[in-house]
């Protein structure tokens, strides 16, 4: 039995609580707001501060429920205890259980909006249909109002068109079902929303493998290739290949 501190994005809340409840290890979970991803450059200092604040409370390691997250975790430093992080780009691969499966889905339909139970439950009304991934369309209407005030209607329309044109190439909504509870009404409303916007809608079964391995300590022996362990005195760096991460001293 080990004592771990898990610092994770709130999009993993239910899976992490569920795994922690039956884990052989003792795990404290600290959730961070998902909006950290909106500005990856601000994510690292916030995570580092949290790690530094919590790490000297008798834990053997800090387990990060994060991936590369738009480079938001790059540069994190392990000071006194190791930090463990799954080798994934983001929450989509984590929820699907492997980067390989994400690649297959991406290959099939690159323009996919991804959704999950926790993500939906932790959204407010203004961004209910914002999806997992790199861009949130939070506050779109507010933005239009601001453009209208500053630049007039013609330019405001042009800006919305230009800044939103990538969305025309998105064609699928995919709900990742982690199998923990029957998806609530959100699944139906997402299906309807997808219909309305002309997207296809798919339910994909999620896989707890990576999150379970993180909490249960599989990274130590059983499954080291899917995780990177940053030893004390080392920093997390990017490799730009399938390994995603490496450690550098310092």
């Amino acid at each position: 039995m080990s004592r771990y501190l898990c610092i994770a994005c709130e999009v993993f809340a239910r899976p992490l609580y569920s795994i922690a409840a039956t884990s052989p290890n003792v795990i404290d979970i600290q959730l961070m707001q998902r909006s950290l991803h909106d500005e990856p450059s601000r994510m690292r200092p916030k995570l580092q501060k949290k790690i530094d604040f919590m790490e000297d409370r008798g834990y053997e390691a800090v387990l990060l429920g994060y991936g590369l997250c738009g480079s938001g975790t790059m540069g994190l430093q392990a000071r006194n205890i190791p930090i463990v992080i799954p080798r994934v780009h983001d929450c989509i691969a984590m929820l699907l259980g492997s980067p390989k499966r994400y690649d297959e889905e991406f290959e099939k339909t690159p323009g996919t909006y991804w959704y999950s139970q926790d993500f939906a439950e932790r959204a407010d009304e203004t961004n209910r249909f914002a999806s997992l991934g790199p861009i949130s369309d939070e506050g779109l209407a507010k933005q239009y109002e601001a453009f209208l005030t500053h630049y007039g209607r013609e330019n405001a329309d042009y800006l919305m068109e230009t800044l939103g044109s990538w969305q025309k190439r998105y064609e699928r909504a995919a709900f990742i079902d982690m199998g923990l509870l029957t998806p609530n009404g959100y699944k139906d409303s997402l299906g309807n929303e997808a219909d309305r916007r002309g997207w296809t809608f798919e339910m994909l079964a999620g896989d707890l493998l990576l999150l379970r391995g993180l909490l249960n300590g599989d990274w130590a022996h059983k499954d080291p290739k899917n995780y990177i362990v940053i030893p004390p005195g080392h920093t997390l760096d990017i490799t730009y290949d399938k390994h995603i991460f490496r450690c550098t001293p310092g």
Binding site: D103, Y151, Y240
Partner: protein, 213 residues
């Protein structure tokens, strides 16, 4: 500078597309010197827009609006320049890397480069290495610009460069990279010729790459 060129300059900086369009047509009808119209009426104001962006006075929306105003003039000016054999600063093929559908930044860069005097060939989004190659062979550009928003698609930038090498065109073009997760380190590590963190820097870099600075 002629008065009308100065007015065009101001209308571009202020992002007034319809005014630019009317004034450029007037200038063309009135026989205004074409090089002056291009350099002082289109390129110079975009340079100022770039400087306003650098100094934090302009943000992406202002840049887009000015670029659009410039483009509304270029649509009229370009065929005339072409007919008089006035050459652009260079030719640039641009696109988002294979797998990446996100093109806000790429579009802005494309407009800023056009505003810096380049002829742009925009291949759009999700551009396969083969498509870049075809464009290089067809258009003989000086520069190829490739962007990525997702960290998952960044590795395709390297694949694209290797593909250029395998097909013996890598030394015919300068390659510049951009996009939110891209860094100078990454660009260096895969052997690109340059990286720019934003659209204004991209325009400056492109000028450097063709030796126009």
């Amino acid at each position: 500078m002629e008065k009308i060129v100065k007015e065009i300059y101001n209308a571009v900086v202020n992002g007034n597309a319809s005014t630019v369009k009317i004034l450029v047509q007037e200038a063309l009808d009135g026989g205004v010197d074409l090089e002056s119209l291009l350099n002082e009426g289109m390129i110079a104001p975009m340079k100022e827009v770039g400087e306003l962006f650098e100094s934090g006075e302009y943000f992406v929306p202002e840049m887009l609006i000015s670029a659009r105003a410039m483009q509304s003039g270029m649509i009229l000016l370009r065929p005339v320049l072409f007919s008089k054999d006035i050459k652009p600063l260079g030719k640039v093929v641009i696109g988002t890397v294979k797998g990446d559908l996100h093109d806000i930044g790429k579009n802005l860069v494309s407009m800023m480069l056009e505003g810096a005097g380049f002829e742009m060939i925009d291949l759009g989004t999700d551009v396969a290495p083969e498509k870049f190659l075809e464009a290089i062979q067809q258009h003989k550009p000086d520069i190829v610009g490739i962007s990525a928003l997702l960290t998952t698609t960044m590795s395709n930038m390297e694949k694209t460069l290797r593909f250029f090498e395998e097909n013996n065109v890598r030394d015919q073009v300068k390659v510049m990279l951009g996009g939110a997760p891209v860094t100078q380190n990454f660009a260096d590590s895969i052997g690109a010729d340059g990286y720019a963190p934003d659209a204004n820097q991209a325009a400056l870099l492109a000028r450097q790459l063709v030796g126009a600075v």
